[in-house]
Amino acid sequence: MRRYIDFYLTSMKIAILEQFQYRAQNYFYMVGVIVEPTIYLVVWSTIANQQGGSVGGYTAGGLAAYYIVWTLVRQMNIVFTPYGWEDRIQHGRLSMELMRPMHPIHSDVSYFAGWKFVMILLWIPVAAILALIFKPTLNPTWLQVIVFFIAIWGAYLVRTMIYSVLGLITLWTTRVSALFELIFAFEMILSGRFVPMTLMPVWVQHVANYLPFQWTFFFPINALVGQSSPVVLVTGLGMQLLWILIGIVGVRIIWHFGVRRFSSVGN
């Protein structure tokens, strides 16, 4: 246990130092990340205004809050992509990771976790500007704030696990991009990324309840901007935990069978 804590702390520190040097790059990335919700915000607030002020219970101010918090949640749930796994496995760089006395996923989780601190720091001025432009209405309770702070880390871990499972499929076949894109499309629609889940048809919301995606976007955002009861908030954290555990089991199983199939290429 001790060595894991040591490893995590060191790896996070390295990530912070390294990523802080690449501020320009991180800002490039962030502009891309911020344009996306701005588009959705404009589309939905246009509709809200056309409908006489609100759509599905969201006013323009409420939508602004949703999508500005979205930008933070998005920073949080940037994880090692399945394409990264594909690259690692295809080019044989995984063999280097296999030499370590620790599962390679630990270095991903810790490195990206450290990176988050740089991201959040760089995000603050951007969020301030967005708030000035779009004037969000946001009055969370203390409980909501606390749940939010736990939930964004939960979202980070849930998404890490989904995408690690997905990426590890590359151990069987190298033609994975179609599968990845399919999952990204599901995420787009079923996570609250494009639109708050409450604006979706009821049956879609039902389907989403059985999938991990909404716990990575909609739940953390809505925890802060919505009016969920304490029970709903705590249940949500429980669901995140459940999906993290399912993900860990999934990674372990796929790893167990898949890694035997790995034959290093080159390097």
Binding site: A24, Y29, G32, V35, V43, Q51, V55, I133, L182
Partner: protein
């Protein structure tokens, strides 16, 4: 003349290369359909809450989506792969091999890659656009069709220049992998007509990032919204961007120091 021959050779190499992997065609086609399905679901969600968006009706927005996919396919097959290769070569210092060739460097770095199978997006986009035109109330005449083609070509040139300028910054910034993400984020704004955005964003998407000219203006041509003045403006901006991209490219190459490749 030499350049046309060169473009043709690279095109042939690119196609021959991709033809080795026929299964990729079906994977690519499948991905085009995923993109299409996502786009249609998004449109359906929007129009389940409203009947028009910023003055654009459903078939009109379907046309915008078709053009968005079409132009996106061109970018993915012909522009972006070249720029990504350039980015890597600047970083690794292997651009030396290109710069020492007896052809203009900018032209050479812009034509080397061609992803043939990515053209599935172009085809799917075209089909969507034609279906959308069929649903429009008005007819599309010869004049609109010509204006559309002109707007599309000018938009393509502008997107190329914009990508080249972005990539050229690698001469100074070195590590810019995130550019791809940045560009895709910005380009995604073109899925909707830029006229619905607040003014600051509209100006940004028109003059800083020419997404408006690549997607919205051709769509305006199709839906009878285009004024000759806009088309003239597109021509002017295209010329300006070509010159600017050339200027920045020269500046960049001058500060390129190689890296003991």
């Amino acid at each position: 003349m030499k350049i046309i021959k060169l473009i043709w050779s690279y095109l042939r190499i690119g196609i021959a290369n991709e033809l080795q992997y026929r299964a990729n065609f079906f994977i690519q086609l499948f991905q085009s359909f995923i993109a299409l399905a996502t786009g249609l679901i998004v449109l359906w969600l929007v129009f389940s809450k409203t009947t028009q968006l910023g003055g654009w009706s459903q078939p009109e927005l379907l046309a915008v989506m078709g053009i968005y996919m079409l132009v996106g396919g061109v970018i993915q097959s012909a522009i972006q792969p070249n720029m990504q290769r350039l980015m890597n070569e600047i970083q690794d210092g292997t651009l030396d091999f290109t710069l020492t060739k007896p052809v203009d460097g900018q032209i050479l770095v812009s034509i080397r890659e061609f992803r043939f199978w990515q053209l599935t997006d172009v085809i799917v986009g075209l089909v969507v656009m034609i279906i959308a035109i069929g649903q429009l109330n008005e007819q599309v005449g010869i004049l609109q069709a010509l204006a559309f083609a002109a707007a599309l070509i000018l938009g393509g040139i502008m997107i190329y220049c914009f990508w080249l300028i972005l990539t050229t910054t690698a001469f100074w910034l070195i590590r810019i992998w995130e550019l791809v993400n940045l560009f895709q984020g910005l380009y995604a704004a073109g899925r909707w007509p830029v006229t619905i955005y607040p003014q600051w964003l509209r100006i940004g998407l028109t003059f800083l990032v020419p997404v408006a000219f690549a997607v919205t203006v051709p769509a305006q041509a199709l839906t009878n919204r285009l004024t000759p003045l806009t088309l003239l403006g597109a021509l002017g901006l295209a010329v300006l961007l070509v010159a600017l991209a050339r200027f920045i490219w020269r500046l960049g190459v001058r500060s390129y120091s190689g890296a003991s490749a």
